[in-house]
Symmetry: C2
Subunit: 226 residues, 2 copies
């Protein structure tokens, strides 16, 4: 398996390339429009064929590269069922598996940060979008976010094997990965004793809106093609 | 094996934590003084004992955490033979092996970016400091840098197995890792046909000095303890 993590400085977004080393088929997860040329370059450098570009959810802080990548490569674009964007090639359901050569990417429906947030699970790693961050979790105060849903989604993730590597869609402090076990033990958002305590905490964060929100959400509802 | 990559935003420095999952012994490579508390936190979170803090060379763009980590944990501090810093616990030679539990870290002397630049090789990955960057290499115009030496050091790295993952000390474009094979094929600094062409190119880069240089080098000669 080929694996690369990319960092978009302006929005502190992590994007991921996975590819089957034999068939050379590849997928990109949460790619950022600004970096489209970089993705196309590494696909060329490694002689890979992009067959899927997947978003974990409709991002509010950067514009997705799904549309530009589909235009450039003919790949399928994938988001979770329930997303308002009408522009994707495929809307995955809970536990649906996307195949990239011999690699399986299983979609897990994990609403809460947004109503259509999904995580993408592989055998030894999971791409958690904004559902589970390193020592944190996504906010729940816009885009039909729901703190109760997020609590349940995080609980679901915590049933996974503790050794699974966690790759989030963002980090703001210089962390690049974690594990399910590490987050179970050390993530402060996972230490509340009851759902009510978590919900109360999340509902009182009073965060400002993301800087890019008014631009990013309308653009992402068009898959970045505008 | 436990492995974590950290990113220091201000200097675009990557630092690395490696640890034996059984013995819980750990090492940090190229740690940044600003992030000392972060390293101490993750060591605590993962119940690890830091036994080594290693620098690949005397950095000019950030202050090392070697001294602060030794003060906080009692770990040994390691740099390459030939470094002007008199404050390290141990000066490794070419091909010397540092043991972290069952993990071997082999020092490879790779002068060029600086006269005492080393890379640290493990079974499936190499920490290349500023010797080999992703699609680039370190500059050679200060700290006894030498373009001929760097050419030879890069050639030496290119004799390693192509599948070995490359983890550099810096990246400025959002790349987090590469491989020996990927760099052999795609790094523009490795495409010169002769050493003379490489040397001529490197000697005419005319780069400004690093912003932190006048602070970082004197501080690093004291292992960050000043």
């Amino acid at each position: 398996m080929i694996f690369r993590q990319f960092f978009h400085h302006e929005s502190s977004t992590y994007s991921y390339l996975i590819a089957d080393n034999q068939t050379k088929e590849a997928a990109l997860i949460d790619p950022v429009k600004d970096d489209t040329d970089k993705y196309l370059q590494i696909l060329k450098d490694l002689s890979l064929k992009l067959i899927y570009a997947l978003d974990t959810h409709t991002h509010a802080d950067h514009i997705t590269a799904l549309g530009p990548l589909r235009d450039a490569t003919g790949c399928k674009t994938v988001i979770g069922e329930g997303a308002a964007a009408g522009c994707a090639s495929q809307y995955v359901k809970d536990e649906e598996v996307i195949k990239v050569g011999s690699l399986d990417i299983k979609a897990l429906k994990t609403p809460g940060h947004t109503i259509e947030s999904y995580c993408y699970l592989m055998s030894d790693r999971i791409f958690t979008g904004d559902t589970l961050l390193i020592r944190g979790c996504g906010r729940t105060d816009f885009q039909n976010g729901d703190s109760e849903d997020l609590y349940k989604s995080l609980q679901r993730l915590m049933t996974l094997d503790k050794t699974i590597t966690v790759y989030p869609a963002h980090d703001y402090k210089g962390w690049t990965s974690s594990s399910i076990g590490e987050e179970a033990n050390n993530n402060p958002r996972l230490q509340f004793k009851t759902m009510e305590e978590f919900v109360d905490f999340m509902n009182n964060l009073n965060l400002p809106n993301p800087k890019m929100m008014d631009i990013a959400i309308p653009a992402n509802l068009q898959c970045g093609n505008n």
